[in-house]
Symmetry: D2
Subunit: 308 residues, 4 copies
Amino acid sequence: MYNFRTDLACERRELYQKANGLDEIDGIETEQKGDDIRINTVKVTNESGARAIGKPVGTYITVDIKNFKIADDDKIQRASEVVTEELKKLIDVHSAKTDDILVVGLGNRFVTPDSLGPKVITDIEITRHLLKYAPQYLEPGTRPVSAVSPGVLGTTGIETFEIIKGIVDNIKPKLLIVIDALASRSIERISSTIQIADTGIVPGSGVENARKSLNQENLGIPVIALGIPTVVDLGTIIDEGLDLFITKLQEKAESNEYLNKLKEKDNYEEIKEALTPNNYNMIVTPKEIDDLIEKMKDVIARGINFAV
Amino acid sequence: MYNFRTDLACERRELYQKANGLDEIDGIETEQKGDDIRINTVKVTNESGARAIGKPVGTYITVDIKNFKIADDDKIQRASEVVTEELKKLIDVHSAKTDDILVVGLGNRFVTPDSLGPKVITDIEITRHLLKYAPQYLEPGTRPVSAVSPGVLGTTGIETFEIIKGIVDNIKPKLLIVIDALASRSIERISSTIQIADTGIVPGSGVENARKSLNQENLGIPVIALGIPTVVDLGTIIDEGLDLFITKLQEKAESNEYLNKLKEKDNYEEIKEALTPNNYNMIVTPKEIDDLIEKMKDVIARGINFAV
Amino acid sequence: MYNFRTDLACERRELYQKANGLDEIDGIETEQKGDDIRINTVKVTNESGARAIGKPVGTYITVDIKNFKIADDDKIQRASEVVTEELKKLIDVHSAKTDDILVVGLGNRFVTPDSLGPKVITDIEITRHLLKYAPQYLEPGTRPVSAVSPGVLGTTGIETFEIIKGIVDNIKPKLLIVIDALASRSIERISSTIQIADTGIVPGSGVENARKSLNQENLGIPVIALGIPTVVDLGTIIDEGLDLFITKLQEKAESNEYLNKLKEKDNYEEIKEALTPNNYNMIVTPKEIDDLIEKMKDVIARGINFAV
Amino acid sequence: MYNFRTDLACERRELYQKANGLDEIDGIETEQKGDDIRINTVKVTNESGARAIGKPVGTYITVDIKNFKIADDDKIQRASEVVTEELKKLIDVHSAKTDDILVVGLGNRFVTPDSLGPKVITDIEITRHLLKYAPQYLEPGTRPVSAVSPGVLGTTGIETFEIIKGIVDNIKPKLLIVIDALASRSIERISSTIQIADTGIVPGSGVENARKSLNQENLGIPVIALGIPTVVDLGTIIDEGLDLFITKLQEKAESNEYLNKLKEKDNYEEIKEALTPNNYNMIVTPKEIDDLIEKMKDVIARGINFAV
């Protein structure tokens, strides 16, 4: 399979189209709306589409918030309302109104670009224990909601999947909502895009090695994933930089055969090797990442709280 | 049962002796050593002893670190060595040398006096995932160690027991080490005493309502608990203050019958009611609690890391 | 002077009245309004009033927020509006519309009950540097606002007054707004009361030893102080507990002469000595203090942002 | 002047040598020692040397710690001893044994790669206030040490220089030690190199716009600066990547005239423009930056504590 180096279905669709010179892809439907807060829906409708972009059959909604860096309270509120609306549609497809939901925040609280999941969890409004111990404080028909941050393999020694499977088997929720960091190819999307998908998630695909998937097949219940790009891999950026640069040379007819070939092929691995001394795992991130994560946390926590 | 309002076996033993005018208690053996770092071992050897102090049959080791508030690096190191030594004895009794151990840090990361458990977990040296993915970095015979902070009922909506049970059933460790805050009656012991016991623990007995016990009976594996007093209940302090005060009046023969009776009985509930408006759950803590928690975290994390 | 052990003018006035059996105090005017959010204004109008309650001539507004522990966003918003309104009145008395204001957050960021000042500062909207470097982003007539957290003597080695004096002399603001923790006698008021005064503040009167006053006399510019009780001294609580208890005995005619005398006098120092071993500086605080501080931070930061 | 895009004197010296094909630079002396922890001393001895590398006359010591990412406690300790030794030499040149020292931690506590300065300050051992209030706890001859984190222009609205000048004028220390983030050209040096210089520092040259210099000329007292590279600018990395890449083409004789010219010139500005949409200020940082900052904080805090 082509190495997309992005988890966003909308980016993969575009790359696949461009690489294969296609206008349409069999088994993939798309729809766009909105402007300031743009909503891009990719539906993978059959296995042919799934193979094309390497993503399972299901719905992938990408919410792009323009100029999120300077977003004020009002814009954060509007973005959270879009998340609520899109998320609610998927929740309603996969569960009944008072079904028990478990919200899971993946990632490492102590690594800034990976801390979004645990941070969202601290703001989720929990009702499951109140329904049991103090139902008088809740409106009738309140849905039981619980929430956990299982940590990451590197700090617990336990696969995220193993922890979540254990909890799911024990408390038997009807639906899982999972928040995690994603890899994207685009600097612009860092902590300003949310992908909502009903096909589950592979823990840590953003900043860790990929692990066993959290999905219906493995857990026995539907899994809605909210993925947010928070970093771009340095190798990806440099590779893209090279391509941009050769394109310019070609435009000025100053390229040569070697360069033309170079642009065709994916130089990611060589670049990565050349630029990453000492086994450092380099990431590219906006200087404002701490602030962006805080804002995105508000968007997602509010988005989920009103949807459930 | 008498309301001891302390989880420390050594305090309970003393209270029981005093209340019943006993020199010895059937089924309870004690031993003391050390001075600057004092080690007090209480062994509950039969059911009679267990009933007397309301603690299951097993070993309870209390480590008191004098003047911990002004402890320097050297003293922290020595205290951690004492923890290592005492903990190692209990571990060796209950597990083999390379048995899988899961370390669990109870408590709420965001409530200072309840944050010790999660803080210790961030400093535990994890090996379980390395044994699986990168054994070449480990010495042969390294024991698999994993670690989790499950959060508290109030923030997850899930009983701590349910989370831990799920994980234990899934990854099947051979021994559990649990860290939690305890209630104590003594201001002096706040964040300067550690109780190590091989009888498990009731989550949140220090600052939350008590829950289902984490012990061998419920989990199927031995549970060693490290409990650290981090707060004293306000009612306890006032009750103790009253008793101290009446004792002084008695010494000066200025007491009267009412006071004498008052001292005999436990006025805790009345005092608690009178002094706690608005349902605030008041705690008494040293002003230096943030700093004491950091130091205690070092003692316990190092103590565990060298013991396992 | 009587040891009030509270920095709240309204508590001092009451204590003075009760102790002296007065209905009115010369040089002190009071006014109350509101219910759910109660506003209590004490005006010290002359030196006789100032001597009585040990507070300089000026205005002291106490805002009490009932049930702040369970306050939702709406109540936090309403409370911040009350702070804005009352603060604005004092600001308008002491400065012109576009006068430069410096906001100072006293306290130690790393000691939870003392962290309110520094936390508020992180949420203050700063304009002073934009007016200089990017005025195009600001509306005309924007007031220059700057903000600092100078730390505390114990962590900087420098008197707070020395740091603030240095900054004031260098950047010459026209008005100072200072946020600090206060001592109160009342558990109910912990992190749910704000005193706004135009007479300055003594740094750290809540949880540290008192230092040189930040006021107009010492700094040359008016100083508006927002003081919030975040802890109650343990000795104060026990002393109050004793008095409550003796009152009950008196009611039942079970007191005696010694007790009656004991109630008259202030037993604070003896109690403090008896109950504070190891030089621990014990404080009484609600278990929810971390959460209360976060909420209070929102009330005050919003209150200031809209007032300036 | 050549745009070095690095604040490290040793990197500038190398760049200048290479760009001008020199073996030696007039007015610049160098010396190297150590291996695992390498010490590189650059002395700028006259104005000609100062012009060449754009750094004032003075001493610049670079300490490179190899494989700092996987450094254990022992290596952290050895690194801090090297810092102590080198720092002590400079302190002894510029101050007497009991002269008052003020340590200043520049940077923004809430932006991870910029948080080193404030974090070091929390670990500095302060004595100035004890000498005044509790000299009995100190050994005779203890030097008065104080420490502040003034925040950054973006969060205070006040130039760092203005705050420090105000404090220096008020408490009159004899020497300033300043810690700040620096820009470097080298990924390997991120949070594993320390430059110690006796020529002062320009606040925020690493991640903020440059401001008025903290140096002897402006403050009236000597200023020793500890600068630590914590980020590399994305444009710098891509520019370097391009050069590396063209070098390879040249080696294979597959370059062309355009490329050769391209390599000669500095393409930083064009690259920066092409790759930085939305005015994001992109940085490149190791994924482990949070952990590296913690370790570096220990090296520097211990290094300073033993030197003063």
